[in-house]
Symmetry: C2
Subunit: 312 residues, 2 copies
């Protein structure tokens, strides 16, 4: 991804240390956080210097490269964010490779390059869907920041830049991850406008949205999927208005052990995330962090292996 | 409406002066603004001490009671908020009554009592829809603050308090009028929870919303209606989930001169309303203040004359 005109990644390993764009400071400031031991890598994951499941996995892979006992490093890194599946996967991968006597830095690089390559291929497969001047709506941030480079939902848009797409960016209350998306698009020089989540339906109805692309946190065997709260609303509105609705996600997001979305448990987070911006404190708020979108609202799923047609 | 346990109105005329709950300070503080001449009434309308078309009309009616030349007072009051239809209607009503030699204070009281009575009857008609323990979603603030007393969408809920309804309150980005609704409900002791607008669909899909009631800014001859941005999204989601969707509005909201919602022009407001809460400034935002909901999504319209069944 471009940052101030320079090609960058959200994290990289250099001179024996892990460097990360500090996502706690974004998009207001671009600051580099340096982790030179496994404790600092664990801190970066726990305190959300790095966010997004694939990017967290990559940070953890580099954490396993640092000095220290392999089992202790693995335990420390796994304790940082108990729900991120990629984190466990990356640490186990590194433990196995190190156990096989493989060079740790080389193994971590391979892990990270594989993640980036999958996103690049999602971009290549998805770019074919984007016609000249298309107006695409996205929700949350499924960008390079969350995946080291390219992103998932943003990968096709990045790669279709010459088609001059315009992106509607849902601000994505309560945590406003839409601002990270707007920041990435500004860096790339891709036209966009941020909107209150309430306005997405209005612009769809007015014929000003040609396509929706979102990321996914988990996809069930029947293609129901979980993603950031509000995704379900936008999917229903897209279908109602005859607008193609695509999910962009690597194969690793598919969880065949889950038959349908009904089996996905929705995390409810602290109500402070909702109340934080208010000038007055209501007695009660509810804050589901994700929702489930049934497969019937999905046009297709863009993966690194190709596009799965879910509904025509 | 109840305010700190006391029965109050959003504005009232007392000892020759107009007193208003200062809505610029709500819900953080309850402060009374006193207008003792027509200039101060005009200020209160212009600076949004009072908000909501019916309440603005009532303030203007009392403004016409103050000392001064009738034509000059009328012109000053009409210049405060050029788009509020009720404002013009109220001022013209007062000019006519004063021209007929009627007592101005009495005429203003009659105007205001008529507005309040219409809302009370909307409440009485709508309360019959509310069954024991129903969970009702509302959007924006169509409460007593906007209509002097009772409200429109909130009138049936207030009057059905003994049925122990629970209210889902959309926060209503960008201006967060949901907080005014939460404040009114807290004052009345009615159970509620504020949610990000993105979460409304999730709770509908999970079967946790039994009914939706919203207000309206304008209703066309074919029952398409304009209301706060996001109303259309919630209407589509209600229909998709088989949830009754009601609009509550007095007959004066119907504009027979407009055949369908397509003729309603949508005001786009300053993008600062969206950006104000952001820690970083995106290059562009779009801020439509209202949207149009086609009649096919409406179950019925609750008016002071009864409930119009739009779709079964």
């Amino acid at each position: 991804m471009l940052v101030n005109g320079r090609e960058m990644r959200s994290l990289w390993f250099e001179d024996g240390v892990l460097k990360l764009i500090d996502q706690r400071k974004l998009p207001a400031e671009v600051e580099i956080f340096v982790a030179d031991d496994v404790e600092k890598v664990a801190y970066a994951i726990r305190e959300m210097v790095v966010r997004g499941a694939p990017a967290i996995g990559c940070a953890a892979a580099y954490g396993m490269v640092m000095d220290g006992d392999v089992a202790k490093k693995a335990m420390l890194l796994k304790s940082t964010r108990p729900t991120a599946h990629d984190l466990f996967h990356a640490v186990d991968y590194m433990v196995e490779k190190i156990g096989q006597g493989k060079d740790a830095v080389k193994a971590a690089h391979e892990y990270v390059e594989s993640i980036i390559d999958r996103c690049r291929r999602i971009g290549e497969n998805g770019r074919k869907l984007i016609k000249k001047g298309m107006r695409i709506l996205t929700h949350c941030n499924a960008g390079a920041l969350a995946t080291v480079d390219y992103g998932t939902a943003l990968a096709p848009i990045r790669m279709a830049k010459e088609m001059q797409p315009f992106v509607w960016v849902d601000e994505t209350r309560p945590r406003l991850q839409g601002l990270l998306t707007a920041w990435e698009l500004e860096q790339e020089g891709i036209e966009h406008a941020v909107i209150a989540d309430n306005a997405a339906g209005h612009f769809m109805r007015k014929g000003e949205v040609d396509m929706v692309i979102v990321g996914a946190d988990r996809i069930a065997a029947n293609y129901d999927f979980a993603n950031k709260i509000g995704t379900y609303e936008k999917a229903v509105l897209a279908k109602e208005n005859g607008i193609p609705f695509y999910v962009a996600a690597p194969i690793s997001t598919f969880d065949k052990s889950i038959r349908s979305g009904e089996e996905i448990k929705i995390e409810e987070r602290d109500m402070e995330e909702v109340l934080g911006i208010y000038p007055w404190r209501p007695k009660k708020a509810r804050n589901p962090a994700f929702d489930v979108t049934p497969a019937k609202y999905i046009t297709g799923i863009i993966t690194e292996e190709g596009i799965i047609e879910v509904n025509e």
